[in-house]
Amino acid sequence: MGGRTEEGCISLGTPDAALQGGLSLSELHELAPASPFQHGASLGFALALSVLAQAHDGAIVFVQQDFAALEAGALYGLGCALFGIDPTRLLLVRAATPKDALWAMEEALKTRGVSAVIAELAGYAEAADLTATRRLSLAAQKGRALALLLRQRASPLPSAAATRWLLSDASGPSDLYGGLGRTAFSVTLTKNRRGPCGTWVLQWDDDGSRFEPALPRVVAAAPFDRPAAAPIANAC
């Protein structure tokens, strides 16, 4: 599996054009929820990206500051099943301070056999300033792992990250039984070094482990084999 392309990028589907080929590995990317109640979307999107970046059964490391876990909850191993992540390939690190969290992320990025590192810091994550994010992007370059920094609030501070994303759950169509339907994210690219910004709705295909553009509603297929408005009498 894995959505790695030849050039060391992972394919997200429609946003690939703006990203010039996909989200590049070996660079730092920042994610934040679009509103305070969208923590599910931010972590879900991060996990989806990690799965796409996973190569050779590499490990996924999730570093979380203690306070961030109080605010938004800790990662739940069973929930990862939706993204096809084997919980035994996950390593959870709890850091008491933002400094520890950034250190752990940097160490994990430098390690061979780690394919993605997600670090979540509480609040605006002021500790992840220009210097800290620069260090992380350098570590990501060396390690060729996907580096994702989750802020719990979108920060206006400058950062060395290659891209910045705002995430929220997109309300997709209900399933056949009136349930919530498939997981979909509304992603907004607010900073992009390589091209334009934009907003997309991406639906997660949990069977194929990939993103696909979400259709607004389920529509009937265009009738190619019969006239559009066939009279009822003829049909009988």
């Binding site: 929930g79 096809g84 160490e107």
Partner: protein, 517 residues
Amino acid sequence: MWLRRLSTDRLRRQSQTPVDRPLALVGAVKNTRRLTALNDAAARAGLRAGMSFADACAIHPTLDWAEEGPEDDARLLEKIADWCERYTPLVGLDPPDGLLFDITGAGHLFGGEAALARDLLTRLSGFGFHARVGIADTVGAAWAVSRHGNAVVVASGGTGDILAPLPVAALRLPPETRAGLIQLGLKTAGDIMVRPRAALAARFGAGLMRRLDQALGYEEEPITPRLPVPALSAEQGFPEPVSRDEDLLCVVEHLTARLCALLEKRGEGARRMMARFFGAGGAVERIEIGTSRPLREAAHLNRLFGDKFAAQQWDHEFGFDRIRVCVLEAESVALAQKDLTAAEDGPEFAQLIDRLSARLGETRVLKPMLQDSHVPEHACVTLPASCAEEFAPEYFPPPFTGEVTPKAAVGGLGSRHDTLASSRPVRLFENPEPIEAIAEIPDGPPVKFRWRRISHDVARAEGPERIALPWWRSGEPAPTRDYFRVETAAGARLWLYRDGLYSETVSPRWFCHGFLP
């Protein structure tokens, strides 16, 4: 070793008063205030331990006194024992005021046993302790010599001759036996040795003969070490204290390298190691590291020590004059030949776990483990990554034998767990957060709820998924939970539950348990 004025030395060290002022400690003995310990000056003034406090005040009206503190004494004794590990790794406590050392084979490192004793006494008196040392073949004889004898070192084989003139108290006997013996006119250990054993044993019990045999070496008496004796250890002493961090680490590196060579010879790897730094000022610091698998790569072990060392904040203005590195736990390592084709990510990832555990603590580096439970918070637990592999087989649910879904083939965990897994949240609150919800009775989904002071309208909901808690475990009726997957009008997806059915409780409460992706 006998610290004969331990309690008063403790107070003197704390208050820095002159040594020549009489000082006594007072405690309640059988409802009377009596002196329990005193210093040399007080003894010269005619006071005795066990004297009542009123008598003591009459003899010496300006006596300095303080309440006794047996706990403080015990703590101090522990500290001194820590410090004494510089001489031998096998140190035992002999409460209330003694320490036992096994210095077999350690004497020559200090230039002989007598020189070791001299060094020990000089250093201790420098710290302000009055101590006496006895070195002998047996614990009993050493004890007797340190308390009642004149010689310091009893030559091997000469135990009987040295013990004979000592009083019976030197045999570590209970007070009643001692009094009985003196009443019979048996005043020295030698008097007992020459008497027929059977008669004495009949009168005073087997305890007397046992003590005598232990002192003479006819019966074994092991020393119980305070700390587990390490499998391997290497140490380095310095003539002058060292205090620069880089130098200390450099020495640790050398010692670790020596240990690794020894480990390699034994075909083992270290699981737990400890470095001890003996301070010139008497403080003893220690660093312990653990590894997730048996290791004998010096470079990696040194990085672990370095990480841990960097996190320490010691007050070592006097520096350290002895460093010891020891292997506390070792396991055998199967030599594995490197595979030419396989990706070599195993060792590096294990090293990451070790390094993170060393700096952040083992309980902060975790691996999720699935369990055979339907209660959400128990279905997936986290275990310290450094020991997760040892526990894994117990925790894992029995393998799923049914049809393998396409997702499992892709690499997911469908083969291991139930199909409900994908309806689970991606984040779970450790403590579910209470919410106020309006819902249709008895088991409709919430229509509106208030969480974190914000009111949310529910746009869509899925449920209920009914989960009964394991009532058979606690024996008390546990409320049944009804879980709902909810999407709010603002678009957030949450996992809510009602704690209890309406048939179980009058007004069940609602909770938010996590975020759905």
